[in-house]
C-alpha cells in the first residue's frame, strides 16, 4: 500500500486518445473560429464535435456507465480533462464543460431514479444542455452564499419561485435549470435553501441578457436570468427541502477541480506555444530560449504547471476517498487559477509583439484563463476560508491546552 501516482492502462489509453483527438480534430475548428464558440455555431458545432468524440470512444468520461459515460473517478478524470482542455473547444467536444459536467456529477449523486431518467439521461447523452442557477446580482448570493434572495414558497403540489440570477453559465439554450432558492430564513442568514429542477420552457423562466466576458468558449454564455412565479412540482425537488447548501458542496468541490483540470490544458498549451517560439527564434546571438531571462520564464512555467497538477492530484485523491476536501480543493483552485494566468502572461512576454497579437493564440487564451481567478469563488474568498480554518484550528488547540491546565 505504498504511495502510487500511476494511472491504469485503460485510463492512460483514454488520455492518449483524447490528446490525439483534440490536436487532430478539435484545434483546427477552434482556430478556424478564433476560439469563439458562438461564432463557431454554438450547439450545432457542439453536436458535431460530440459525434466525433463518441466515435473515438471518449465522450462523457465522467458520466456513469449506465448513462453512456466512462465512469471515471476524480483522479482518473484529471489527465483526461487536462488533455481535453488543451483546446478551449475540447471540453465541449467531450461534453465535460461547465456547467453540464458538474450537473451530471451532482445528479448522479442526488437525483431520484425518476429524475435521473428525465434529466440526467438526456444530459449525459448530450441531447440537452443544462444550467445551474445559483449566483445572484448584488446584493444577492455571490461569493457570500448567505445573501441568497431568490425565494421559493410552498404552494399546492409544489413551489413557486421568484428571483433574479446572474452569471448563469450556459443558460441561453439550456434544456433545464437547477434552481437554488431560499426555502427558510431570510437574506443575510444561512437559513435553508433547496434545489429545484425545471425545464427551460417552464412558464416564468426568462433569459434576459448575456453578460459578455473575456472568455468565449462556453456555450450559452453567462446570462442574467429571472424567475417570475415559476411553478415546480414537488417531485422536481432535487434531494430534500432545505438541503441545497449541502448538495451545493457535493457539486462545488468536484466542479472546482474539473475547472482546474480543463484550464490546466490551456495553460500547458500557452507554455508549449511559447517554448516552441523561443526554441526557434534568433536574437542576441543565439536562440531566445538560451537567454537567462527567458529560461527563467520557461522554468517558472514548468514549476507552476507541476505544482498545479500536484495539488490537483492531492485534492482529487481526497475527493475520491469520500472526503469533502474543502481545504484541499480551495488550495488547488486558488493556486492553479493564479498559476495559469502567470503562465499565460509569461508565455505572451516570451513571444514579444506576436504574443499580444492574433497571430498566436496566447492573448486569447489569457482572456479565457483570467476569469478563473474569479469564477468558482474569487481567490480572496478561498483564502478567507483557508485562513479561517487554520486560525480556527489554532484557537481550538489553544482552548484545549488551556482546559488541560
Amino acid at each position: 500500500m505504498p504511495v502510487d501516482l500511476s494511472y491504469a492502462p485503460d485510463v492512460a489509453d483514454i488520455v492518449e486518445k483524447t490528446s490525439r483527438f483534440v490536436r487532430d480534430q478539435i484545434l483546427p475548428i477552434e482556430y478556424q473560429y478564433g476560439g469563439d464558440i458562438t461564432t463557431a455555431g454554438g450547439d450545432d458545432i457542439r453536436r458535431e464535435m460530440n459525434a466525433k468524440a463518441k466515435a473515438e470512444g471518449i465522450f462523457a468520461p465522467h458520466a456513469p456507465v449506465e448513462f453512456g459515460g466512462l465512469g471515471l473517478n476524480m483522479s482518473d478524470r484529471t489527465p483526461v480533462f487536462a488533455a481535453a482542455g488543451y483546446s478551449t473547444f475540447g471540453p465541449v467536444a467531450l461534453h465535460i464543460g461547465a456547467p453540464d459536467e458538474g450537473n451530471v456529477h451532482m445528479l448522479a449523486h442526488i437525483a431520484s431514479d425518476e429524475q435521473k431518467h428525465r434529466y440526467l439521461a438526456p444530459l449525459a447523452a448530450g441531447d440537452v444542455r443544462s444550467a445551474f442557477a445559483m449566483t445572484e446580482p448584488s446584493p444577492g448570493a455571490g461569493a457570500d452564499p448567505d445573501a441568497l434572495r431568490t425565494m421559493a414558497v410552498k404552494v399546492d403540489g409544489g413551489w413557486k419561485i421568484n428571483g433574479e440570477k446572474r452569471f448563469i453559465t450556459g443558460a441561453d439554450g439550456a434544456g433545464f435549470f437547477i434552481i437554488m432558492a431560499r426555502t427558510a430564513g431570510s437574506p443575510g442568514d444561512r437559513g435553508g435553501a433547496t434545489m429545484f429542477l425545471a425545464p427551460a420552457d417552464t412558464p416564468g423562466i426568462s433569459v434576459d441578457r448575456h453578460i459578455v466576458t473575456t472568455d468565449r468558449s462556453m456555450i450559452g454564455g453567462h446570462c442574467e436570468v429571472s424567475f417570475t412565479d415559476v411553478f415546480v412540482p414537488d417531485e422536481d425537488i432535487l434531494g430534500e427541502v432545505d438541503e441545497g447548501y449541502r448538495y451545493a458542496q457535493v457539486r462545488l468541490g468536484p466542479a472546482r477541480m474539473t475547472h482546474v483540470m480543463r484550464w490546466y490544458g490551456s495553460a500547458q498549451r500557452c507554455h508549449d506555444v511559447a517554448v516552441d517560439y523561443v526554441s526557434k527564434r534568433e536574437g542576441f546571438g543565439g536562440k531566445l530560449g538560451d537567454l537567462g531571462m527567458i529560461q527563467q520564464m520557461v522554468a517558472d512555467n514548468e514549476i507552476d504547471l507541476a505544482a498545479s497538477m500536484a495539488l490537483l492530484v492531492k485534492a482529487c485523491y481526497e475527493l475520491d476517498q469520500g472526503n469533502h476536501a474543502s481545504n484541499e480543493t480551495s488550495i488547488a483552485k486558488t493556486f492553479a487559477a493564479e498559476a495559469y494566468t502567470r503562465i499565460a502572461d509569461r508565455s505572451i512576454q516570451m513571444c514579444g509583439g506576436l504574443g499580444v497579437s492574433e497571430d498566436l493564440p496566447l492573448s486569447r487564451l489569457q482572456n479565457e484563463l483570467r476569469p478563473f481567478r474569479i469564477y468558482d469563488g474569487p481567490s480572496e474568498v478561498h483564502r478567507w476560508a483557508i485562513a479561517r480554518r487554520a486560525v480556527g484550528r489554532a484557537k481550538k488547540a489553544a482552548a484545549r491546552a488551556e482546559s488541560a491546565r
Copy 2:
C-alpha cells in the same frame, strides 16, 4: 534652489482643462465605440476630436509653439499626457499619441528648416499622420537593433531602400514614413543606420497587413510594411548619414516616457473604477472596500501609481536637463509598464465577475495596457541594459582600484 515638484499655474490650468475635456467630451465617444478607434471611424473621429481639443486650447501641447503647439517640456507634459490618457482616445484627441508625438519631438530636434516646413508643420497641425519604420520581422531589428536588415544603397541623387518592417504603428493611412535603413555594415554588427523621410505615396512603399493586437486605440494599427526600391532624394535624409542610431536615441527616451504618461492615465482609470465599485458594493457584512484583502489591493494600486509617477518625474527632469537619461527612462518604463498591468489586474479582481465583463472597461483596458511591457523594448531588454551598466560600472571601479595599487 531647493527640490521643487510643483507645476506652474499655466501648466496646472492645461491639466485641469484636459481632465475636464476627456471626461466630458472624449470618454463618451470611447464608450460608444467600445474603445476601438477603427470602429469609431479612424481618421474621421480623429479629426473631429482634434477640432474639439483645438477649441479647448489643449491641442498638441508638446509641439513647438511656432508650429501651433503649447511647447511644453517633458516635465510639464507629464500631468497633461496622463490626464489625456484617462481615455484611450484622449491621446488621439490631443494629437499626442504614438507614433506622431515622438515623430514631432524628433523632427523638431533634427529636421532641417525645409523638412520642418514639409513634414513637421502638417504633422504638428494634425493634417497628416506619420509612421516610424524601424522594427523588422525576425531575424531583423527588433529588441536587438544591430540586426537591422533594411538596406539603403547610394544611387544618383539619393538612396534606394529595400527591406521589410513589422509592427509599424500608424502605417495604414500615414502621410509619410520615417524609415530606418542600414547604410553601413551588415546585419549583426552596429555599422551605420540612416533615417529617411518618405511620403507614403512614394513608389515601392506597401502596407501589407495589419497585425491585430489586443490594443485597439492607435489609428493606423500595427502593420507589416515593405519597401521595394524606394527612392529617397538626398534632401530627405533626416540629419546625417549613418547617424540614425543616435537620432533614434533622441526619439526613444522621450517616446518611452510619453508612453508611460499616457498609460498612467489608463491605469489610474482602472483604479478609479475599481475603488468606486468596492466603495459601494455590499458583501460579507459591509462594503467590499472595508475588507482587508480588498484594502490591500487598493493600497497596492496606490503605491504602484505613486512609484510610477515618481520615477517618471525623475526621468523627465533628467531629459529636460539635456541628458540621455537612458538608465532613468529604462527604469521608469520597466517599472511603470509592469505596475500598470498589476493595477489593471487588481482592479479586475476587485470587481469580481463584472471585472471580466464588458459592463466595465477594465478587461478592455488591461488589453490596452498589457502590450506596453513589450512595446518600446520588452522589460527583459531594459533589464539587460540596466544590469549591463551597473556591472560595467563595477568592473571599471575594480579596474581603477586594481591600477591604484
Copy 3:
C-alpha cells in the same frame, strides 16, 4: 518655477564629505565589531565617532543651527542620511539615528524655550541620548494607537504616570524620556494623550529588559520600560495637554522618512557588494554578472533603489511644504521597506554560499533591514491607512454625485 530635482552645492558637499567619512572612518569600525554596536562599546564608540563627525563638519545635519546642527530640511537630509546609512554605524556617528533624530526634530518644533535649553540643547550636541516611550505591550498601544493604556493623572503641581512600554528604542542609557500617556478617555477610544519629558533618573522609571532583535546597530537597544508613580511637573509637559496624538504626527511622518533615508544606504551597500561580486566571479563560461538571471536581479535592485528614492524625494518635498503628507510618507515607507528586503535578498542570492556567510556583510544587513517592514508601522497598517483614504475619497465623491442629482 519648473520641476527641479537638484541639490544646492553646499548640500552636495555635505553628501560627498559624508560618503567619504563613512567609507574611510566608520565602515572599518563597523566591520571590526561585526556590526554590533554593543560589542563595539555602545556610548563609548558613539562619542568617539561623534567627535570624528564633528571634526568633519557633518555632525547633526538635521539639528537647528542655533543648537549646533546644519539645519537641513527634509529634502536636503535625504542624500546626506542615505550616505550615512551606508554603514549601520553611520547614523550613530552623525547623531542622526533613531530615536534621537526624531526627538530633536519634534523638540525643535514643539518644546518651550526652557525645555529646549534643558532637553534639546544637550541632545542635539550628543551629550545625552533620549527615548520616545509610546509603544506598549499587548493589549496596549502598538500599531493601533487608540489602545493606549499608560495613564497620567493630575496631581498637585504635575502628573503621576503609571504604565508599561515595550520596544522603546535607546531606552537603556538614555538621558531622558518622552513619555506618551493617556490624559483623557480610556483604552480603545481616541480620548486624549499627552507627552511628558522626564529625566531618566526620575524615580519610578525602570528599564526592565532588552528585547533582542535581529538589528544590532541602535544604541540602548529596544527595551521594556515600566513607569511606577512617575511624577512629572507641569512645566515638563511637552506642548499642550491632550495634544499628544497631534504632536506624534509631527514626529512620525519625518521619522518614517529618515528611516527610509538611512536604510536606503544599507540597501545600496548590499547591492554594491553583490554587483562587485558578480562582476568578478567566474562561472558558466564567463562572469556571473553577464548571465541573464543574475542581470535580472541586478536590474531589479536598481529599479527598487530608484523607486524608493523617487518616492522618498516626493514625500520629503511635501513635508517641506508644511503638509502632513500622511499618504505620501506611508507610501514611501511601505514601498521602500519592502524594496530594501528584496534588495538584500537578491544580493545574498547573487553571492551564493558567501551570501549567507559572515565573509560578506549581506545576511547581517538583511537582519538589520528586515524589521523596517514592522517598525514605524507594519506594512499592513500603512496599507490599511492608504486604502481607507482612497475608499473614503470614493465614498465622498459618490455622495457628492448623489446629492447633485
Copy 4:
C-alpha cells in the same frame, strides 16, 4: 491500481512517534541552546539525542535494516523527516541530517561489502559522522561541476589527491570523507571524476576554517578543507574510476528531497507559531487572525506548504520508481526552498515586533531556511536546468516535425 496517497500504518506510527519525540524531548533542548548546535555541545548533544531516538525506535529511519535502520523508501521518509525537521535539532537526533543521511543513502547503493562494513556500518549506527567533499572555492566546482579542480593522480597501489574544498558540511569532527576528485580531463570540461573514501586522520587532510553561516544546526559546520598529497588505496575507491558524476546523481536527487522534507518541518513550525500568535493577539477590534490582510498571509502559508508537500510527494514517488527524476527533484527543491523563506517571512510579519525578536524562534528559523535557496544548487541553476530540458524537448520536437515533412 488507482492513485493512492496514503501511508501504511507502520509508517504513520513512526511519524506519530517522531512528532511526539521532537515536541517533548528535542524542542526543549533546541530552545535551551538558542538553536546553535555548537553551543549545545556538538557531538555530545548529538550522541545524547541519538540515544533518545534509539530508545523510541525511530533512529535512522532511512538506513538499511541490516545496518540498524528502518529501511524506509523515499516516499515513506517524507512525513517522518518532516516531523523530525519541526526542530532544527530533530534531524541530528534521528541521524538524518546532511550530509550523513545522503552519505548513508549513497554508500548503501554503491559501496562494496567491505566498504559497507568499514564505513557504512559505523556511520549508520551514529558512531561516526562523515563529510562529502565536492564543492570547491572559485574558480573550482560549485554550481558548475565541470569546473572541478581537485586532482587525483594514480600512484602505486592507490591515488594521490591534491586540492581545496569549500562549504564542506560536517567536516569538523567527521570520521571520514568522501572526496570527489578529477581523474580525467581538466577544469572546464566534464572529463571524469572519482569518489574516494578516506578516514579523517589520513595524512594530508586538513580542516582549515569554518565558514560561519546563518544556519546553526549542522554539526561540524561548513568548512574549508584542503587535501595535500592525500593517499587513498585502490580499495577505497567508491564504485568505479571516472564514474563519480554518475554516483553524485545517485546522491543528489534524494539528498535534495530530504532537505525539502526536513526544512518543511521548520516552515510548518514558523506557520504554527504565527497562527497561534494571531489567533490570540487582540488588535483593531478583534483577533489579528480575523483581519483580512493577516488571513491572506495565513492562507498563502497554507498554500505554500501544501504545494511544497505535493511536489515533494511526486518527486519521491518518481525516485522510488527508480527514475533519476532530475526534473521533478529540481522543481520540488526550487519551489519549496522559495516557499519556505516566504513562509518564514510572512510568519515574522504576522508577529510584528516579536517576530524579529528572540522571544520567538521565527527570525532564527528564517536564518536556517534562507540558505536552502543556495545550498544543493541555487534556484537559478535549477531553473536553468529545468528550462534547458524544456527548450531541448521543443527543439527535438521541431526537428522531428521538420524531418517528417
